[in-house]
Symmetry: D2
Amino acid sequence: MIIVFKPKVKETDVNHVVDQVKQRGLDTHLVIGEEVTICGVIGDTTRIDPRQIEVSPFVEKVMHVGEPYKLANRAFHPDDSIIDVSGVKIGGDHLALIAGPCSVESKEQVIEIAIAAKAAGANLLRGGAFKPRTSPYAFQGMGTEGLDILLEAKKVTGLPIVSELMSAEYIDEFNEKVDLIQIGARNMQNFDLLKEVGRRCTKPILLKRGLAATFEEWIMSAEYIMASGNPNVILCERGVRTFETYTRNTLDLQAIPVVKKLTHLPIIIDPSHAGGKWWLVEPMAKASVAAGCDGLMIEVHNAPECAMCDGPQSLKPSKYAELITQIKEIAKIVGKEV
Amino acid sequence: MIIVFKPKVKETDVNHVVDQVKQRGLDTHLVIGEEVTICGVIGDTTRIDPRQIEVSPFVEKVMHVGEPYKLANRAFHPDDSIIDVSGVKIGGDHLALIAGPCSVESKEQVIEIAIAAKAAGANLLRGGAFKPRTSPYAFQGMGTEGLDILLEAKKVTGLPIVSELMSAEYIDEFNEKVDLIQIGARNMQNFDLLKEVGRRCTKPILLKRGLAATFEEWIMSAEYIMASGNPNVILCERGVRTFETYTRNTLDLQAIPVVKKLTHLPIIIDPSHAGGKWWLVEPMAKASVAAGCDGLMIEVHNAPECAMCDGPQSLKPSKYAELITQIKEIAKIVGKEV
Amino acid sequence: MIIVFKPKVKETDVNHVVDQVKQRGLDTHLVIGEEVTICGVIGDTTRIDPRQIEVSPFVEKVMHVGEPYKLANRAFHPDDSIIDVSGVKIGGDHLALIAGPCSVESKEQVIEIAIAAKAAGANLLRGGAFKPRTSPYAFQGMGTEGLDILLEAKKVTGLPIVSELMSAEYIDEFNEKVDLIQIGARNMQNFDLLKEVGRRCTKPILLKRGLAATFEEWIMSAEYIMASGNPNVILCERGVRTFETYTRNTLDLQAIPVVKKLTHLPIIIDPSHAGGKWWLVEPMAKASVAAGCDGLMIEVHNAPECAMCDGPQSLKPSKYAELITQIKEIAKIVGKEV
Amino acid sequence: MIIVFKPKVKETDVNHVVDQVKQRGLDTHLVIGEEVTICGVIGDTTRIDPRQIEVSPFVEKVMHVGEPYKLANRAFHPDDSIIDVSGVKIGGDHLALIAGPCSVESKEQVIEIAIAAKAAGANLLRGGAFKPRTSPYAFQGMGTEGLDILLEAKKVTGLPIVSELMSAEYIDEFNEKVDLIQIGARNMQNFDLLKEVGRRCTKPILLKRGLAATFEEWIMSAEYIMASGNPNVILCERGVRTFETYTRNTLDLQAIPVVKKLTHLPIIIDPSHAGGKWWLVEPMAKASVAAGCDGLMIEVHNAPECAMCDGPQSLKPSKYAELITQIKEIAKIVGKEV
């Protein structure tokens, strides 16, 4: 951390600030120039809030050097983390292909889709049982019954299950029934949930990026989970909110190289939610793999026009199968196994 | 809701879509033009997801007419809602003046600030006991002990208490100790919490706008609380996220007339969090009152340079007192009592 | 400017970077710490591009201290600039009230509006003769004929004229006919136009903020005009682009205190374009004055429903007159004369 | 266009609005429902401003159906446009590979880079002679001398030249010396320049997307050029402005399928400006090609650490050559020739 003082600051005022920093157990290096006085702060600066220093009337600016996260930081963990999801590896040179309906609607639906997805090459099955909906009047998901349907589909296909957890109340049930527990974009900074998930979830976590979350905030939310005890976090980019309204959100594929540079965690892409239109899924899925992502989460529905949720962004199984064929070719070029 | 069909659509395809709509118990009006075919949908369209219709290959666009919320809608409740917070009225021509530290740090601190704030004209006391922090390593608040300190300050000053609830686990405690229960920006779409708060909180709710929440989404979150049983919701604008980084967030004061047009709920403004700099608070507080807000939530701290959280955006009590003097003059001009 | 080196950088590599800086005539102060090495750069750093230093593989980060603008900077010009627009003062404790139609449509229209606006208290007349329109098929303004109509309205009312210049080609005509030359939001970074306007315009310039321009970029565009020879620049906030679509743009009133802190230039607010709805103009105009703006630019139209452009955001003269009455009361409280 | 009237509107008020529309030569279809009255407008609605109708107190909303552009619209021109840039085809199954320095700095520099870029597979040479810079004190480019250097590099390598035009003043010179004339992001809505470029440029135009421009606005700017007489427009996505600051801008690759669906114009991607960091270029370039773009514009510099502009985002020639090798493999999979 670097503290820049106001021009022409007095020595006593500088010392006052420096003392404050030292009291927190940190070391300082002071440079007093003619026009600028700066102080480098050395030590574990993750425990100091720069804004607490900035409030001083003698301080111009406080700037962080280095990142505020440790467990997620690639600097302290240079190798890619490879997360095992009930036997399916995610990260490194493994490519996760997660497919399934937005919402679980019926046993027939899920099993039919799961069989088709597996045949196409998917290695994980997604399905929403508890649904975060903007309107209290919209379909809120089948809940526990939905999870049980997913379990039946797993029995048939062997595909591990990915599903969203919305409340700490259901952690035990998810530990029992779900293989990869998703935290949705709207709960990315539900810090109490993150702590509970870190403390109590025995399964890996798929942490979606919030609609207006910076890379740093997103990684800090992963850090919450890791610091609370669960090191198995996979990040998922699903589009951010911009001024553009033609697409549901703007898919930020720069997230892939950025997350890989800053952290050792795997990153997967959800092109279905990002664009909100099925015809955007194919080009964006291919782009994601070319950019080096560790997996794709794609909505597949056997009858999108009857879907209870997000039909317009779902692919039919036949389209999904065609897509995976091309994905495999691109994956080979960028060094991923499928 | 209006369904616009693709140009040159066939009659059978139109009928297929119209039938789908009718099956959900809604009425339709069809206009078949040479170049455009449209269908007006009549009835309770809040229960239909426009995207379910849009998925049809014969449909160009589905457009909502009217708002998706009912209980919060001014159309069905033309008079301003006036919410009673332990004797302090918010809404109508009443102006709420909420003041206090970002975080509760000690009994002495809170009581000193509360006395000063009351003397300056504040009629409610704020203080964070459970703190949502971006970093797991930052101070997370004093918790229950913090609420108890607020209660002591209430005993001394008589000011009702505003504090943030982060998890449904603490609802009973908040019902007992807090007068106005805040849901923070990061939990605005924590739908499970909204439902619990609606179902179980016996006190009014202060619902902050999410960092990237549209007016409609924000009101829909109020609707969640109201539909779950608690009609006493106050909205709070605290700045939205934009490309500008000089200020912490961009304060959207257009929210005041917009919220008042669309809903009957009171709206208060938090200029402290929006700008993140204490010298922005005064001009923005005055602007908010001039624009017709129903209250101000302002961070006041007796020693901002020692604050454990958000010091740079806190006013000293003397500055706060000066501000309230000017606020009262502006309030008079726009027809608000203080 | 502060250069932060990568951890464990070698001395020779540091020296290489330091030499580069010195070759540009700047002084350096180096601190070599155990874990962090930083270099403070002293001198006229506005002439150095931080990204040129950042490209070095030994550099972690380059941070600007202080602002990249000089002529517009309040640090070097502590007093408010007061700009004289053909006898009307803008800045300091003067409040400019600019009113008129979005587009000049006819002589009768403009004169009728000008008389009404003046009667209500306006001291400057606005009207678009050259119109920047998103569509090439939309009405593009009356051009020279429009300026001549404005001149006739000036003859009748004495109100100086504000109108937008879109191309350097018309500078001589604007110098002759217009009193305050507007540069529109979409041309805020049309640098060739800014240079020409600075070099050749003999009248003050009203520089609108671009739809996605940061405060710094906006002030840098003012600096372009000033550095090219025209010191008389007035800034105008007109809303920025965000994810919110209910309003045309989000009006950023924090711009008022921020611009006043960073520069000595006057700032006026255009609440008509920001919201795009006439009923937002009144509350936002009052808010702007309460926040300390130096003027308001408001669209007034005698028949908004027939306006060729932006009717929905125009006030009728009677509404404008009512508004000005309230504005004057608020202006008094914040120390502005009208 | 569809006009939705306010609930319970009177017939006479509806007729008044309908008459207004008819007077502009358009046809109407009226549906009067119990709860909603809507009016479909048929004909060339690109010449009507929906906001002119919306201003009526009887109108709830006006919605466009279909797009406001015609010449650029794929609906009226189903085949891909293939633009010939001095012998190099862009569009269809051709992939343009534009490479070169951000700024022209010297003859030696440009020729060295041009030879290396050509050897790596580039088929067009970029170089800025007139530079749009945020600061008036930054290097503004070599101007005419810079264009002449590019011409010399063209003589040596045969690569056609891409360079940015900032003012109509230089159109004749650009027509003579430049093969593909770039309009920069900051001038995307400099409508006077767009008209002149459409009317007078004899070479194809590369139109960059504005930093906060919607797809529709961007295409409308292409429509300006086309409607003014130059049908040869290529679109270029270069990142949009969001809340994220780690990257310079957020690259919106959904632009590729969206632009291809809405228009018949080619779209190329500039990953260098989008991210602002050289290590983002490789993954984003591969992603762009996988998503189906028609070309890549990449900054290549022989000594990025000495570049006068944008060094941090430039690739060295050897890195560029490696990238092109992989690009060619991906291009093959998605059906593009290189």
